[in-house]
């Protein structure tokens, strides 16, 4: 097989993998910290992309403002989703096992509602970000070509992942979030406003989804009602590979998954390639259920 072709597919894999990792980041924080596997993250992602398209179409705002609009849309939607779906569960004071199961079930409901709304809004059509927001140039680096959009996507994803990892490890709010993941009651006793912190964590997850949504809609140049659901499976694979709550692990797993899928597509037919996430999920869960990157962050505050 041609070496340049492989190198090109590695680059393409890094591009897809990095945006999938950014999407998985919100999901893994939600699972690791809040103990909620929020499947509705996929629909929050879709709605944020639709919000970006709407703002781009109906205002003359530049790209950065559209990104902020999508980030706000994603964050606020996640907080609103928490208020209608997960907050009532927290009030029931269930034990950990029941809470995990019930929040997963509830997130299915939230996902259904948002899917229904997304289908109504798009009328099952494909929409696009307006072309005035960005232009696409082709860059050539040592025989491998990539567009400025692809480069932006990779840089933004890596910078955001590292920033979130740093913030959770080194800031006061990050310490509080880790404490919340470890011992919620003690965190409350230590004077942290737990309900505000939970809302903040939800906002963060939604905001990350919003940011990833704009990046992916620039990359694919198409948004539809199943925009988020299409990469939900990759995101779950990334979390399972990395272990829940592992932030840099999710980035690494995302890049790994992207490279395996895109380089592999040179060797196997497309429909076999679709099975890669399934195979990885099954293999990792069977061999090392805590993920490749060690214990979940939640067990060590």
């Amino acid at each position: 097989m041609n070496g340049t072709l492989v190198a090109q597919q590695v680059v393409n894999g890094i591009v897809t993998g990095s945006v999938e990792a950014l999407f998985a980041l919100g999901l893994t924080i939600s699972w690791g910290v809040l103990k909620i596997l929020n499947l509705a993250q996929a629909q929050i992602f879709t709605m944020a992309a639709l919000a970006a398209v709407y703002v781009g179409d109906h205002t003359g705002l530049p790209l950065w403002a559209v990104v902020i609009a999508a980030v706000l849309a994603g964050g606020l939607l996640a907080v609103a989703g928490d208020a209608v779906a997960f907050w009532p569960l927290r009030r029931q004071r269930l034990d950990t096992h029941a809470m995990e199961l019930n929040s997963l079930i509830t997130s299915f409901g939230l996902a259904l509602i948002l899917t229904g709304i997304a289908e109504k809004v798009t009328d099952s059509n494909i929409v696009r970000l307006p072309q005035r927001l960005y232009s696409v140039h082709l860059l050539h680096v040592g025989g491998v070509s990539l567009t400025n959009v692809q480069l932006t996507v990779v840089v933004a994803s890596v910078v955001l992942s590292v920033a979130v990892w740093w913030a959770i490890g080194h800031t006061r709010a990050g310490t509080a979030i880790r404490a919340l993941a470890y011992l919620p009651e003690m965190t409350q006793m230590a004077g942290v406003n737990v309900s505000r912190l939970t809302r903040g964590a939800f906002f963060l997850c939604g905001a990350l989804a919003g940011c990833a949504a704009v990046l992916l809609s620039m990359l694919l140049n198409a948004v539809d009602a199943t925009f988020g659901t299409d990469i939900l499976l990759q995101a779950i694979a990334i979390i399972v590979i990395a272990g829940s709550g592992r932030i840099l692990g999710a980035l690494a797993a995302g890049l790994l998954l992207g490279i395996v899928e895109d380089v592999g597509s040179l060797y196997w037919p497309a429909n076999i390639g679709n099975l890669v996430p399934f195979v990885l999920i099954a293999v990792v869960l069977l061999i090392r259920p805590t993920g490749l990157f060690g214990q979940p962050v939640t067990s060590r505050a």
Partner: protein, 295 residues
């Protein structure tokens, strides 16, 4: 609007799948594999009838036997993983089957299999539903039922009391497989075609909504939920196009207000209507409590 006959048939078919999921939830696990087995049943029926010329009943019996023997393979990872990972494994099974069936040209690819003989009628569905309900009732009563519910409340404590939780999950895996085959077969014989899109995420969530809204502690709840949700999703003109939103809203409302579903609500109301009876405290308990207080 869909005809009432269609709504009734679909309610019965989904009811069978919902009972399988309900049994798992009673035992504390959310297994979504039943939808994958529906796909297997539907496709096997389709292939056996249209390509091999088998009779529907023969195909059903063969598929059910195979499912009873192999159904636990899907939940084999349960030996290593528990909780949410278990749900993820089963969801992965469903979605992977969709991809596999969609890419095999013998099975018609994304288009699926057409012109399957329409053999399902009301009697088939009533018989299937009655048989699965009876099996579920048998599994949920007596010591078997108590063991399942104990595992659902606290797997660790149940295990320490001698319940083999893993073996239980393997059994439930086989049960879900057989029920799924029955539901899938009836579906194929009623609708007349199967395609990968029919057995995906949407159906997984629909069946889940049925179980939760109806009441996850009892097989009767699964049937009630299947009937209610199918009627609401298909039976009213003004709700056409809003089925997903309505189902989601039902699920959220149930989880927030009465997590035990309609069955739980009815039990609660009946409990409130009955006059409170004051049971006099037996003297012996006073004696024993005083004694222990002094020691």
């Amino acid at each position: 609007m869909t005809s009432w006959y269609t709504v009734e048939m679909l309610a019965g078919i989904y009811g069978i799948a919902a009972i399988a999921m309900q049994l798992g939830m009673m035992a504390g696990t959310l297994s979504l594999a039943v939808v994958g087995w529906m796909a297997v049943g539907g496709y096997f029926e389709g292939v056996a009838i249209t390509k091999w010329g088998w009779s529907p009943l023969l195909a059903l019996v063969v598929a059910m036997t195979a499912a009873a023997l192999l159904g636990h393979l899907v939940v084999l990872p349960a030996k290593r993983v528990q909780g949410l990972y278990y749900s993820i494994i089963t969801l992965t099974f469903v979605l992977a089957l969709q991809v596999v069936f969609g890419s095999i040209s013998y099975l018609g690819g994304e288009d699926g299999i057409y012109s399957i003989a329409l053999f399902s009628n009301g009697w088939w569905v009533i018989l299937g539903l009655a048989a699965t309900a009876a099996a579920a009732a048998w599994l949920s009563t007596g010591q078997r039922g108590r063991a399942l519910r104990a595992a659902g409340q606290d797997p660790l404590a149940a295990g320490s009391l001698g319940v083999n939780v893993i073996r239980q999950q393997m059994l439930l895996g086989r049960v879900a497989a057989v029920f799924g085959i029955v539901a899938g077969t009836l579906y194929a014989g009623f609708i007349g075609y199967v395609s990968p899109g029919d057995f995906g995420f949407t159906l997984v969530v629909s069946v889940l909504v049925m179980v939760v809204v109806g009441g996850r502690r009892s097989w009767l709840g699964a049937i009630i939920g299947a009937a209610l949700i199918t009627v609401i999703s298909n039976g009213f003109n003004f709700l056409v196009g809003w089925a997903l939103v309505v189902q989601g809203a039902f699920l959220l409302a149930t989880m927030a207000v009465f997590p035990e579903g309609i069955i739980g609500l009815v039990t609660w109301v009946v409990g409130r209507l009955q006059p409170r009876v004051r049971v006099p405290t037996p003297v012996s308990s006073y004696v024993s409590s005083h004694r222990s207080g002094h020691v």
